[in-house]
Amino acid sequence: MRSSGARRGSALILVLVMTLAIAGLALSAIFFSSSSRLLSAAVDKERGYRLAALAAIEMARDSIQRFSLVDTIPNAASTPMQLFSGLQVRDATGTVIPNVRVNVWAAMTGDTLGAILPTVTVIAQAYDTYGVRFVQRADLRPESYSRFAMFVNGNVTHGPGVIGGRAHANGDWSIVNPGTQLSNIFLDTLSATGTITDNGSGQSAATFVRGTQSGAVRIDYPRDSTYAWMQTVAGLAGLDLNLTTTGTALGGGANTGGSRVEFVSFDANGNGVSEAGEGFLLVVDMSPGYRKRRGVELTNSASAQSPAFSTSDDVIQHQCGAFYRRPATGGTFRWHFFPVSAHRRTAFQSLITSTAAGSYPQVSAATYTTLSANTAAAVKAVLEQPTARCFPAGSPYLMPSERFTQANTLQHSGTTAAFQTPWGASSQTPSGGWYGGADTTYSGLLKTCTVQTNGNCQGGTVATLGALRPFGGTLGSSQVADTAMRRYLWPLSSPYNGATTNRGLVNVRVATGDTLYLSGTLRGKITMRVAGGVILPDRIRYEVDPNDPSVLPCRNQLGLIAVRDILVGIGVPARLYGVGSGASAFTLRGGGEARFTIHGTLMSLTGSVGVDGDSLDFGPNQAELSCPEDETTIQDDSNGGCFSITGGLIMNTYKPFYRTLSGRSNLNTNVKTRNGMRFASSWDRCNEADGRPPYFPVTTRIRAVRSLEIGVTRANTPSKVQTYLRRLLGKPI
C-alpha cells in the first residue's frame, strides 16, 4: 500500500505539469500576438521611412519653387546642393515622426544641350540610428515659357477669340464681351495673379475648357541680361549676326549694312525629302538708300488713318506680281513668277500669254494687253490674279526684277557695274529661253532702277538695292549641291553647319533702337535672340504645319526672344491694304492669304508681341475677308485679315491686335473690323511636350515628372549620392 504522501506528490507533479502547460500556452499566445504586432509595426515603420522621404521631396520642391532656386542649383558635375540635413518630418497633425530624419540633395542633371527642358534631380534619404533605411529620387522639371499660348507680365484686356493653350497674366485679365455671335474660348487653363473678369454673360460668356485660376502665384519675368551668353554660344556656330556694322560689299563697293533675315527651307541634297538639317538663313544687306524700307515696306503708310498706297510704289512694281503655270519641255509644266514691272517686258510676253490646256491662270492676248499697260488698272489686274503675292527684296522669285545681266548676254555674276540690264530686258538675246522667278533663282547682288513704260530701266537710274550676305562660318562636309546658292545659305544645323558646338542658337545684333526684319519658312529647331526689336514683314512658318497629324510634334521649333517689340509691320505688303484710288482701287493681298500665319513662340522681354498700327484703318470697305477659322455665316469679316498664331505670345506688356473705332466697327454687334488684325490662336501639340526651342527661357515654376525608388546601398552616403547624380548628367531624363 502506498503512502498518502506519495499520492500527494503525484498530484503535485500533475499540477505542475498542467501549470507549465498553461504557462506555455499563455506564452505562445503572447508570442503570436506580439508577432502579429511586430509584423504590423515593421510594415508601418517601412511605410514611415518611405513617406518621410516622399514628404521631404515635396518640401524640397516647394523650396526650389518658392525661393527660385533653379538658377542656383549646381550642375551635377559639381557638389550637389544639400537642401535639408537631419530634417525631422511632421505628420498631418504637426507631430514630429519619431526616430526618422531625412537628408535631401539636389543637382541639375539630364540634358545639357538645351533641347529638352533642364532637370533638377532631388534625392532624399530617410534614416534612423541604424543608418539609411530608404532612398527616394524625384526628377523635377522647370516649365518653359514656350508652354504658354499667351503670357503677359501685366494686365490684359483681350478678346474675342480662341486662345489655343495655357494663358497667364501677372495682373488682371479682362475678357472683352464678344457679342452674341462671336465667342471667347480658352482651350487650356487661364490664370492671373489678379482677377479674371468675363465681360460677357449668358450666351456671350467665355468658355473655359480647363478652368480658371484667379489669384495665381506670380511668375517672375526674365531680363535680357539673363541670356547674354547666347551670343557666345551662337558665335561658335557662325550664327552670331552682327547687323550693326558695314558688311562686305559684293558689287560697286556699296555700303551694305545688315537689314533683314529670312528663314529658308531647302532640299539641299536634292533627295526629295525635307530633312532636319536643311534649314537655312538668308541675310539680306540693304544699301543705305533702301535700308529704311528694308526692301519690304510700302511708303507713306506709317501715319495715315486710311492710307491708299500708290500703284507706282517700287515695292509694288518690282516685288509684287503673280505666278503662272506654263507648258515646259517634255509635256511638263513650270511655275514662273513675274513682278508687275516684268509684265511690260516683251521678252516675257510669250510666256505670260497662254490659253493652252493646263495653263493657270490663263491669259489671252487681250488680257495681256491689259496686264502689260503702264497704268494703275494694269497693276490692279496683275495683283487680282489668284496667284498674286509680294516678296521681300532678295527673294529668288524676284529674279526678273532684281537680277541684272550684261547686255546681250545672260551672264549674271553681278559683281561689276557692267551688269546694267534687268533680266528679261528686250535688248538681250535669250540663249536658253526666258523664264520667271523660282525658288532657286537666287541673285547675289540685288539691283533696281526706275522702270520705263516698256519695262526697261531709264538710263542712269540703275542702283544697288542690296546684296545677300555670304555665310562666314564653317560649312559641313555635306554642302549644298547648288553652287550658286551655297554661299548665301546660312546653315542652321549639321550636316551643313560644320561647327561641332552648334546648339541651335542664333544671335542677332542690331544697332541701338534698330529692328530686325524677320520672315520665312523654318526647318529645324532654333532659338533666335535679337538685341533690339523685330518687325515681321511676312509670315513665319514651319515647313510643315505644326499640327499636321502625320508628323511628330515639335518637328520644327522657333523661339524668338527680342529685347523690344515683336510686331507685324505697318507698311508691309503681306498685310491687307487698300491700293490705288477710284476704279483702280483694290485690296493688296501681298501674302496670298488672308491669314498672317506665325508658327513659333515669340517673346518680348520689355515690350509687346502683336500688330503694329492696330488702330489704323487699312482695308477698303467692300473687300473684307473672313477671318479664317471663324464661321463665315456671321459678320466677323476683317479688312485687316487675321493674326494667326500657332505657338505662343510671351510679352511684358499687352498690346491690342485691333481696336474698336466709333462709327467703323463694333465688335459687340459683330460688324466688320476695319483696323488692326483679328486674332486667331491654334493649338500647338508641342505645347504639351517636354521639348522647347533650344535653351528657351524657363519660368520659376517646376513640376515633378518622375519619382523613383533607389536601392539603399546605391545612395546611402554623401559621396554615393554625388556619384549617382553625376551619372545622370547628359542622360535623357
Binding site: 499540477v15 498553461i22 505562445s28 509584423l39 487680282e384 499640327n547 499636321d548 477659322e629 546601398t713
Partner: protein
C-alpha cells in the same frame, strides 16, 4: 486521485479553450501574413512603375492580373533609373521585353510586346515588364482558393504566396482614374474606381493611360489542422502610380463621331486667292452639340493622287462652332498640268482617337 481528477476536470476546458485561442491567434496571424505579404510584394514593385516615352506604364489592368513596366534592376551603373544593380541578372530580365520573346499576358489571349520600346537615345529600354496574377490552387480542389504568381518579362513564373481566398466574381485588383465634375463653374477632379465590367484594359487602349492608382483586396486563409476551423483576414492596399502619364485624359472614351457635310471650293473672281475653302459641320461629340463633348479638334487630310494616299494637313481646334472653316493655301509647285486636291475630315478626341472620315470633296486648279 479525486483531487487530481478534479483539477483536470476544472483545468481541461480552460486549457482547451486556451489552445483554441492560441490556434485562432496563430491562424489570424498566418492569414494576416498571407494577405499582407501579397499586398506588400505587389505594392513594392508597383510603386516603382515608370516608363520611357511611348512605353506603356500599365500593360494590363485586369481584375485578377496586372502587368506593368518598371526598372527594378540593372546589370551595371548605366541603368540610372534602376532600383538596384545586380551584375548577375540575365539581360532578358534586366531590359525591356522584346517582341522576339513575346508571350501572352497572364489570364488573357493578348500577346505582348508587339514593338521594341526604346529610350530617348534610341537604345532598348532598360525597363522590365512585371506581371502578377492569380490562378486557382488546384491542390485543394476549392474554386475560391488562389495562388499569386509573379513573372518578369517572359521569364519563369514564380509563386509569391498561396492560400488567397477570392470569391467568385470578386476582383483582386481594382483601378481608379480621375473623374470630373463642374462645381461652381470650376472643373474639379476626384478618383473613381473603374467598373469591373470594363476590365481588362490593355496597353493599346486609351483608358489605361488614365489610371492613377491600383487597389489590391487580399484575403489570406488559415485552416487549423486539428479543428479544420478556417480563419480569413482581408487587407486592402492602394498604390498610387506616381509616374502615371501627366496628361489628364478625362472623358476620353470611344472614338468620336464623324463630322458631316464637307465642302471644298476654289475661290474665284477678281482678287480671289489660290486657296481651297474647306468646311464641315461639327461632330455630334463636339461640345457644341453635346454628345461626349471630348472632341479636341478636326484633322484635315488631303490627297493629290486620286485618293490613293492621304496625308494630314492640319488639326483645326474645336471651338464649339456648328460649322468649321479652314483655308488651304494651294501649293504653287510641281510640273503637272493641273492638280485635283481631295479633302476629307476626321474628328479627334482628347485621347487621340479619330473618327471615321467624312466623304471626300475636291477642287481642281
Amino acid at each position: 486521485m479525486t483531487l487530481t481528477a478534479a483539477v483536470f476536470a476544472i483545468t481541461f476546458p480552460f486549457i482547451k479553450s486556451q489552445v483554441a485561442a492560441v490556434g485562432r491567434g496563430a491562424g489570424r496571424t498566418d492569414a494576416d501574413q498571407v494577405a499582407r505579404y501579397a499586398v506588400m510584394m505587389i505594392d513594392r514593385d508597383l510603386r516603382r512603375a515608370s516608363a520611357d516615352s511611348g512605353q506603356p506604364l500599365l500593360v494590363l489592368a485586369g481584375p485578377r492580373a496586372i502587368t506593368f513596366t518598371a526598372d527594378l534592376v540593372a546589370t551595371d551603373t548605366t541603368g540610372t533609373d534602376a532600383v538596384d544593380i545586380d551584375a548577375g541578372v540575365s539581360t532578358t530580365l534586366s531590359t525591356a521585353w522584346l517582341p522576339a520573346n513575346a508571350a501572352t499576358l497572364p489570364l488573357t489571349t493578348r500577346s505582348y510586346p508587339t514593338v521594341t520600346y526604346r529610350d530617348r537615345l534610341g537604345a532598348v529600354s532598360l525597363r522590365e515588364t512585371i506581371s502578377y496574377w492569380l490562378k486557382p490552387d488546384t491542390v485543394t480542389g476549392r474554386t475560391d482558393l488562389f495562388v499569386l504568381w509573379r513573372r518578369v518579362n517572359a521569364g519563369d513564373s514564380v509563386v509569391v504566396v498561396r492560400s488567397l481566398v477570392l470569391p467568385t466574381d470578386t476582383a483582386f485588383f481594382s483601378y481608379q482614374r480621375p473623374d470630373t465634375a463642374t462645381v461652381g463653374g470650376v472643373l474639379t477632379s476626384s478618383l473613381r474606381t473603374i467598373a469591373a465590367a470594363r476590365l481588362p484594359l490593355y496597353w493599346d487602349s486609351v483608358a489605361v493611360d488614365s489610371i492613377r492608382s491600383v487597389t489590391i483586396r487580399a484575403t489570406g486563409r488559415y485552416v487549423d489542422t486539428q479543428t479544420r476551423e478556417e480563419t480569413q483576414r482581408t487587407l486592402f492596399g492602394t498604390t498610387m502610380l506616381t509616374n502615371a502619364p501627366g496628361r489628364l485624359l478625362v472623358g476620353c472614351g470611344a472614338a468620336p463621331t464623324a463630322p458631316g457635310s464637307p465642302s471644298a471650293t476654289l475661290a474665284s473672281g477678281n482678287g480671289a486667292l489660290l486657296e481651297a475653302k474647306v468646311n464641315w459641320t461639327a461632330s455630334s461629340d463636339d461640345a457644341r452639340n453635346g454628345g461626349a463633348r471630348d472632341v479636341r479638334g478636326y484633322v484635315v487630310e488631303w490627297s493629290t493622287d486620286g485618293g490613293t494616299t492621304w496625308r494630314g494637313l492640319t488639326t483645326v481646334s474645336a471651338r464649339q462652332q456648328s460649322r468649321y472653316y479652314w483655308y488651304h493655301g494651294l501649293p504653287i509647285a510641281g510640273t503637272a498640268s493641273s492638280v485635283t486636291a481631295r479633302y476629307r475630315i476626321r474628328a479627334i478626341d482628347c485621347g487621340g482617337l479619330t473618327s471615321t472620315p467624312t466623304t471626300v470633296v475636291s477642287v481642281t486648279f
